[in-house]
């Protein structure tokens, strides 16, 4: 075994400590909480805010279906998961990246719509104003994946979910590539695996999705793929009902398409 120069060790240790520190910092800055959303109107599009432990946070703005951030709903609480930054928009600290989930239960107490106030502004031009659209969506959709060519191999597609979420307007973005792939390779079998998520909130509480949701999600996705034309394919439904604790990425369905 060759020796390692002390200077290299120092560099490696420094890098490691930086990584650890960054990770720790990121962990410190990670925030997960449930609160009423707040609409703060501006001279252009509204900002969406939320308050937690005395601090007001900025979640995002209204744009359109093409945006990564789609605003929540008054009348419902929102689960906010993300990383706090030092930036400020609309007079509130920005959480970025952010993932929100509209909680299904009605919360009539969540009704705070604030009118335009002097000094509260976006500070940037929104990609999609409330009126003229510019003739396009706010964001360009991702390019379609390349058409698969033989020999085909099994491929897995992920369908992400909001907390307690089921199929919605975003689902086609995830399902369409899977459907296209399957229509080309004519699979022998499709495995659909549903997962149930759990999120540790910043106050220590554990928020768990309802039991059975893994199966419901998998069943629903299989039904949708059949309904979209894969009605002569054999589906295998798998459900992991034991909650997986972690971030939004664990609330999912996996679609494995097998040639």
């Amino acid at each position: 075994m060759r020796g390692v120069a002390p200077s290299n060790v120092a560099v490696a240790l420094t890098a490691l400590s930086l990584i650890v520190a960054t990770a720790a910092q990121a962990k410190d800055r990670h925030l997960a909480f449930v609160a009423c959303p707040i609409v703060q109107d501006t001279p252009t599009v509204p900002c969406w805010l939320a308050q937690y432990r005395g601090e007001t946070y900025y979640m995002g703005i209204q744009s359109d279906v093409s945006a990564d951030f789609n605003p929540p709903s008054l009348g419902h609480k929102v689960l906010v998961e993300g990383t706090v930054t030092d930036k400020t928009v609309c007079g509130a600290r920005v959480i970025e990246p952010i993932r929100i989930s509209i909680m299904p239960a009605l919360s009539p107490e969540c009704g705070d719509l604030r009118v335009v106030r002097e000094g509260v502004d976006l500070g940037f031009t929104p990609p999609r104003p409330p009126g003229p659209s510019g003739g396009r969506l706010a964001f360009t959709p991702p390019a379609a994946p390349p058409t698969p060519t033989p020999p085909f191999t099994a491929k897995t597609f992920l369908v992400p979910y909001d907390f307690e979420g089921m199929v919605g307007f975003r689902t086609p973005d995830a399902l369409t590539p899977a459907l296209s792939f399957a229509q080309i390779i004519k699979p022998s079998r499709i495995e659909v695996t549903g997962y149930r998520g759990a999120t540790r909130l910043s106050d220590g509480a554990l928020l768990v999705e309802h039991e059975g949701i893994a199966r419901e999600r998998a069943d629903e996705i299989a039904r949708m793929l059949r309904g979209a034309g894969l009605d002569d394919v054999s589906f295998e439904i798998i459900a992991h009902e034991r909650p997986t604790q972690g971030g939004p990425e664990l609330r999912r369905v996996e679609i494995k398409i097998i040639p």
Binding site: P71, G75, P172
Partner: protein
Amino acid sequence: MGGAGTRGMLGRGRAEWGVFGRWTRVSAVALLAAGIVAISGLRGQPPGAVTPDGRTAAEQERSDWWAPGSGEALPALAVYKNASGHVGVLNTEGPVQTKGHPFFEPIGSNGRACVSCHQPADGMGLSLRSINERWRDSGGTDPIFAMNDGANCPTLAPGKASSHSLLLKRGLFRIALPWPPRNAQGKPVAPEFDIEVVRDPGGCNTDPIYGLNGENPTISVYRRPRVVANMSYVTHDGFGVGPFVGKTGEPALRDPDTGKPLNMNMMADARTVTLKAQMADAARDHLMIVGRLTPDQAARIEAFERQVYVAQVDMGAGGSLIEPDGPPGMGPFNLRDGAKGVLGNNTTRWVIPVGDAWTSAKVGETAQQRAMRDSILRGQKIFHFRTFWIRDSMHLNTVGLGNPTKRTCSTCHGMHMTGMDTVNGWMDIGTTNLPWAKEAPRNPWQTEDELMPLFRITCSRSAQPHPYLGRVIYTQDPGRALISGRCNDVGTIVMQQFRGLSARAPYFSNGSAQTIRELVDFYDRRYNVQLSEQEKADLGNFLAAL
């Protein structure tokens, strides 16, 4: 048909437009203007007054009714008077010989033809005015009053106005749908909710034969006939049509012949999505056809439906909408030539473009024409630019815009040239769901009884609650939910095109807005738009001009 003279005169003149194109329009507009004067002269006369041709004003007024089997030719451009001016029915393939044509012949067993409920004079829809004229003139025997769906319930006494009150007061036909719901393949769908009948003034939902507790449990809802024109827009396969419905994520219905996903914007509940399937549904349920349409009949009906365009052609004294240098979004000729199935906007490709045609006065333009054109331009701007908070509307606020969302009329009514929804879509704006649906006030002094049925929907615990209405919803018409069985579809209705509005009042699927002004008032109330009187008038004129 008593109106042959009127329609023939105008029709022959305008029939030439389709042959000679736009160059002949100036002279044709002059002919049209003459026609306007001739017809307008009848307005304001008492119904019994005798006109120069020996007919009463009332007879002249109803002369545009197209009876099944009349056998007359429908001109290349037929023009009919309405309260705002005239509507034009453009047949792009030239005059239609209706004799023997399955759209115009009474091919069912109840005397109706397709044209019975898709009248040219009513913009290929059916106006309440026509319905009441037919009731008066036929003593209630016109085929549109057939008991199967032209009465509140088939078991009621024929010939009595009270048996047909939903048709006579709201322009509504009975739509009988199975419970539990069935999908497009006829297979039962397990609904996410229970349904109870809370109020049943028509008597059909509690009827032992036709009702919810009958041998074949059925829900009766009451809806307006939709416009059969501009179908290349209605059935487009452009923007937003894909394997999944962009708003709900659900699989889109597919053409059984090609397997391709289809636009689902034709019927109020999107239960059928091809013209072929729709006409089979209508022939069975509305015409009571014995057997089925033949392939030749179906092909001829579809061919007719795909070539006919409808739009207002003038605003009476307010002037023409189809001058050669007129606004590019007005009139049936522009509809014929417009881009189909594309999303409009308010900068580059307006939902309803008006261009610069009316920004300055034209030679010979009257003060009335100028005033109307200015009003339409203002209304068009309100439609495209006036923001307001759109709130608690299922399948609108739930599709990534947030609730509420600060947007404009053109956000939802976004299809270029028609103001329809471009993507597959149905939504609940409150026309049928309480608390927004129109209901007769209940108090000790009321004289009006509510006409519409009322259902209580209870969403099951295993389903997610409706995001805005919770688990218990009161509705006059569950809309798409009677097909999908989904709790969050309760009260959702597929939006209609904006064309020919002046010819076919009342509006909304349940006829709850008797006039365009009532339609505007609904939105103003529902979304707190805070339109001024002038803005309401301008928006109304803009809509009336479409």
